[in-house]
Homo-oligomer: 315 residues x 2
């Protein structure tokens, strides 16, 4: 029997927007939200709520900031059973400027941090909870976290009002046994307090979907995906694969297939994501993809062997 | 410590040739063999040995038939430590016309069959073993095999001189727990006789590499992959990911990266493979990809929702 506690979070707009500075057409954002609503997805993450003091508004699209008027335009007229999420990165947001939940269509605030910043993330969680939001903490680059630091952070998170804490494989580096280890470690600290574990997997080694399945098998209940796997570089766990795997009859595949053919095929002619060798290499080597991003922007974008040698030999 | 019994089999030319009727340039085939040799791959499958009475020679490339002069041209001048394999499909070959091992550069003959034809495959194995070859049996479409039939076949294979028997997920349908189940079932019958288990995974649901890892975890030692994941439709477990995962220091990644950039990028401008939604759908629904192949050849090739409805509603 399917596990009713499972929540699917679509982060197409938030995570996919890292490719194009969140310059999506409003009609595209709305099509994504509507498709997810029809498909029975639990949450749609419509972008970041980052500080306009730190990020120049004219350089980014509306999903970088998620002003309330933007969000209301997107959700208007769509069945609201799919809840709205936005992300705040620790250190990139003005907490005081975030509105009260009662004045917003946002339900879930996702706080992203590295393991070293878990204390700050907990401050954010408390602040946002006091404003009425549900919260998650998404611990990024988990494949580089030292176990004692991570365990200390998980012990602190267990005492916070957070709803779920994520394993985020930012570099797309982890294999199934490491996913099993991490989910079990998270659960050890969080499950006794009724806090859920989440999984956000990147696809550098074509393991985004597989690692999400492995996390589910070990007890993760918050599952991130993006439509057609969109996301910077290799992208993410494809939402359509995830919905096909889950047995809960509330999920429907067809609306996602429709939005792929209508909205995502034309988009992919303009921006690239998917299985791209330089990102496979950074994932395999447990590195941030920035060197691959730089390579792909230049004339040597397909010099794979030279790129690999450059990293391995440090030349 | 790495498992020295593991054998990596590159089936780029044999399996990838299903996209283009094996019409590869000889220089391409040679580049693949050479790259695999430099990378430390154990076997390279250079094509089929099918009957020219059944397949018109002028309609297919040389890898469909693997005449001895073709194979010798390919391997000439390359370090021969990478052995040559070819495939024979049960019912599509003239066994009597297959030369003796002593007159051939081929070491390994891979016999492909469905579960219903295991008895015939065992006849082939005996015949080919008597001619001096090592053999494997590759049981195709395993996701549709009934367990009693499969167990009866495995029990018979255990009494044959076969070297390895493969789990072949032809439809790209299986998830990790099913891979675990099948590999353990195969091992139960085959391991007592010293026969190895192999895995050949398709990538319809982006699980080709993941399922290969899961088979390794449960004891499979014969591992199929293709360079850049080439193969009909979604393709196969990418060899470069597999080599990156395996810890045996004899494997080298760089020659594979080089051949991808030089030979596979230009080829992919001409023929398609990879994550393509209609093949994802046939995989999810445990079907042969023929409906997806037909769709991709026509004007409705990107009508994903209509294709899905057509299958699910049978209209």
């Amino acid at each position: 029997m399917y596990r009713p506690q499972i929540k699917v979070v679509d982060c197409t707009i938030r995570d996919g927007g890292l490719i194009n500075d969140h310059r999506f057409e409003d009609s595209f954002v709305k099509a994504v939200y509507k498709a997810c609503s029809l498909a029975g997805v639990d949450y749609v993450e419509l972008g970041y709520q980052l500080s306009k003091n730190l990020y120049a508004a004219e350089k980014f699209g509306r999903s970088k900031f998620c002003d309330e008027d933007f969000l209301r335009e997107i959700v208007e007229g769509v069945d609201p059973k799919t809840k709205v999420a936005t992300m705040v990165d620790v250190g990139r947001v003005e907490l005081d400027q975030i509105r009260q939940k009662k004045d917003s269509v946002v339900d879930l605030m996702r706080v992203a941090c590295y393991v070293k910043d878990i204390d700050k993330a907990i401050d954010y969680v408390k602040h946002l909870n006091a404003k009425g939001y549900a919260t998650t903490v998404n611990i990024m680059a988990i494949s580089t976290a030292l176990q004692p630091d991570l365990e200390e952070g998980l012990a602190e998170l267990a005492e916070s009002p957070v709803k779920a804490v994520y394993v985020v494989d930012s570099y797309g580096h982890l294999f199934s046994e490491q996913i099993h280890f991490l989910v079990k470690l998270y659960l050890k600290y969080l499950q006794p307090k009724g806090i859920e574990v989440g999984i956000h997997a990147h696809n550098n080694q074509q393991l985004g979907f597989a690692n999400t399945i492995e996390a589910i098998r070990k007890g993760a209940n918050y599952l991130d995906g993006t439509i057609f796997g969109i996301g910077r570089g290799p992208g993410n766990c494809p939402l359509e694969l995830l919905l096909g795997f889950l047995k809960n009859p509330k999920f429907k595949l067809e609306p996602i297939l429709e939005v792929i053919e209508k909205e995502f095929l034309p988009l992919r002619d303009k921006i690239e994501w998917g299985y791209i060798i330089p990102y496979m290499i950074t994932g395999m080597l447990n590195q941030h993809p920035r060197s691959a991003i730089a390579l792909r922007a230049g004339k040597d974008k397909d010099k794979y062997a030279q790129f690999y040698r450059g990293i391995v030999l440090d030349i």
